[in-house]
């Protein structure tokens, strides 16, 4: 009786024309993930997981994504502060430009980086000339490519948190004799910590999954620039089972990231 009434109520409220595509959409999103798990070579999974190649790619991925995240934090928090608090001319334009890497095809980002930081690039030429230092096709290049693509996630999240924070706490700190830098460190930063954490996790997850910009700018050199997504792509041609194992690892990481953020990341992005 109760279940019938419930069905009636749902049927009455939601038109079939919406429910069907909704279920289809859900299936479309979930079935590939289920397929991935179903196809996994579970019996040989542990041995493949701890093989040298996988371990190397995973270690490289985690190190590069983490360093890229630190880089994004160091540059992104001040940038978010500037966008949220400073009275800049053309701030709306700057904010729009900051979000460009968010919608830009990563490959295009990689090409752009190559043009600027490549050995013959605007900046890259000088780096090579003065310091004998070249970024493309190095691990440092992977980090640069990942940071380029992932930083907007951090900036947007932190800027949202800064806008939501009550600036009167900063005024209270000023009346207690705190200068701007001390106020930022002791009052502003702690109050936006949840936004910073959410932004950093999103940034890290995006960096970890980076493919397009990385392969364009840093190439595919095992042990130096072959991160997990590149390894998946590579393995698909030689040993599909390894590709599945690597994919499951990345899926697991994504799920953990999502669970750790829960609904927070949504409020951070708002």
């Amino acid at each position: 009786m109760r279940s019938r009434r419930r069905t009636q109520r749902v049927g009455g409220r939601l038109p079939l024309v919406l429910v069907l595509p909704a279920l289809l959409g859900l299936a479309f999103l979930l079935i590939p993930l289920i397929g991935l798990l179903a196809e996994a070579p579970w019996s040989t999974l542990p041995s493949r997981l701890f093989s040298a190649d996988v371990g190397q790619a995973l270690r490289l991925s985690v190190v590069c994504a983490s360093v890229a995240t630190v880089l994004c934090l160091l540059l992104g928090i001040p940038l978010a502060w500037l966008l949220a608090r400073a009275e800049l001319p053309g701030r709306a334009v700057i904010r729009a430009l900051v979000t460009v890497p968010l919608v830009l095809p990563p490959v295009v980002g990689g090409v752009a980086l190559l043009l600027v930081l490549g050995r013959r690039g605007l900046v890259g030429e000088r780096l090579d000339l003065w310091f004998g230092f070249s970024l493309p096709f190095t691990t440092a290049g992977v980090i640069v490519a990942e940071a380029f693509v992932a930083m907007p996630f951090l900036v947007i999240s932190v800027e949202g948190a800064l806008r939501a924070a009550d600036p009167r706490y900063e005024e209270a700190a000023a009346t207690l004799g705190a200068g701007r830098w001390l106020t930022f460190r002791r009052v502003t930063l702690p109050s936006i910590a949840p936004g910073v954490v959410a932004g950093a996790v999103l940034c890290w997850a995006r960096a970890l999954g980076e493919f397009g910009a990385t392969i364009t700018f840093a190439g595919n050199l095992p042990g130096r620039t072959t991160t997990m997504p590149l390894a998946v792509y590579l393995a698909l041609e030689t040993d599909p089972d390894v590709a599945v194992v690597l994919s499951i690892v990345l899926l697991l990481v994504s799920v953990v990231v999502l669970a750790s953020l829960r609904e927070r990341w949504i409020s951070g992005l708002r």
């Binding site: 005024e171 009346t175 200068g179």
Partner: protein, 355 residues
């Protein structure tokens, strides 16, 4: 060193133009309705808002004098208690109090020891490790007060310090705040819309309306001679200081007032002029306070008439009693100066505050 300020701030919605001075040890209240510009004045003094014209000086030290001098908040020797306190939620009570000292470069351990002593003065040493969210409204207010006082500011600015409290705690916290302000040797400026806060806490009132000073003086002066209807309405309050014993309060200037709830020691008693009823003959009912009085003055206000009364020869009436009556009552009672009347006041109409 006197704090001296001429504040002129122009905004689209209103303009502020007022002068004020506060001597060491003095408590001056800026009293006025919401939107009168009181908080703007306080923000200007705090250095959170540059003035457009005028000057702010402490002795010979200029804080703000457009267009050349502006010293920001963090370089003025001030303490501010904000309306909703703005305690830092990620810091404990003791870290909040130590914040100003740490900002001045005081060693961490010394700052914490000092902060603990300040918390002791307001009876909150046990709450030193509490986060602001875990404190009651009255406790948070006290932490905010000692946080502002911990740096030994020359000027203490209080923005509606009692407005965020519920009515039952206000009484107690107001009395306690009064004691702390008495002990504080610097200059205090209190911004409030509550005449009772102003009259109980301040030595001098500056009444602001539409960004301008409408009257200035001691609480008693202003209550006796309000210059405008607005001020009369605002400070139309019979306020006395006396000593209580049981339900009887003895006033130093003569006069005995019966209150509803027994208490003892020094008290403020306050009641509205409309709580006084006037009769031509001795009334037969039994209000606890029935006094023979003489009419000393009559002032017409918008809808009421304010009558100033003095006690007759052997009356126990409080001095300088104010009563509000309707225009019709003026005729009924043949209200004329020097006329003898009976005044009554119900004990339940009287608010009592410990001093």
């Amino acid at each position: 060193m006197t704090l001296y300020a001429e504040l002129r701030v122009a905004r689209a919605a209103f303009s502020l133009d007022l002068a004020l001075s506060v001597k060491p040890g003095e408590v001056v209240a800026l009293l006025g309705p919401n939107g009168a510009g009181k908080t703007t004045a306080l923000r200007a003094l705090a250095g959170l808002l540059p003035i457009d014209d005028g000057r702010i000086r402490l002795g010979d030290d200029t804080w703000d004098e457009p267009p050349r001098v502006f010293r920001p908040a963090d370089r003025r020797p001030i303490g501010v208690v904000f309306q909703d306190y703005l305690l830092f939620n990620h810091l404990t009570a003791i870290e909040n109090v130590a914040f100003g000292l740490r900002a001045r470069g005081v060693d961490k351990h010394i700052a914490r020891a000092d902060a603990l002593r300040w918390l002791e003065t307001v009876g909150l040493a046990d709450h030193a490790r509490s986060r602001p969210r875990a404190l009651s409204g009255g406790q948070a207010q006290r932490v905010a007060l000692v946080r502002a006082l911990a740096t030994h500011p020359e000027v203490l600015l209080l923005d509606e310090p009692l407005a965020a409290l519920d009515a039952s705690t206000t009484l107690h916290v107001r009395a306690e705040l009064g004691q702390h302000l008495n002990r504080y040797e610097g200059r205090t400026l209190l911004v409030t819309h509550d005449p009772l806060d102003a009259m109980v806490l301040a030595d001098r009132l500056i009444i602001v309306e539409h960004g301008k000073v409408v009257q200035e003086g001691t609480p008693t002066e202003i209550a006796r001679r309000p210059r405008t209807d607005y001020v009369a309405q605002l400070v139309g309050l019979n306020l006395y200081r006396g000593s209580a014993s049981g339900t009887t309060v003895t006033l130093p200037g003569g006069g005995l007032v019966t209150i509803a709830n027994p208490t003892s020691g020094g008290v403020h008693i306050a009641f509205s002029p409309s709580a006084i009823s006037l009769y031509a003959e001795r009334p037969t009912g039994s209000p606890r306070n029935t006094w023979p009085v003489e009419v000393a003055g009559i002032e017409q206000h918008a809808h009421t008439v304010r009558v100033r009364l003095t006690p007759t020869a052997d009356s126990a009436a409080p001095p300088n009693l104010l009563a509000d009556v309707t225009t019709a009552a003026v005729a009924d009672l043949h209200l004329l100066p020097a006329r003898h009347l009976w005044a009554t006041l119900k004990a339940t109409e009287i608010q009592t505050y410990p001093t």
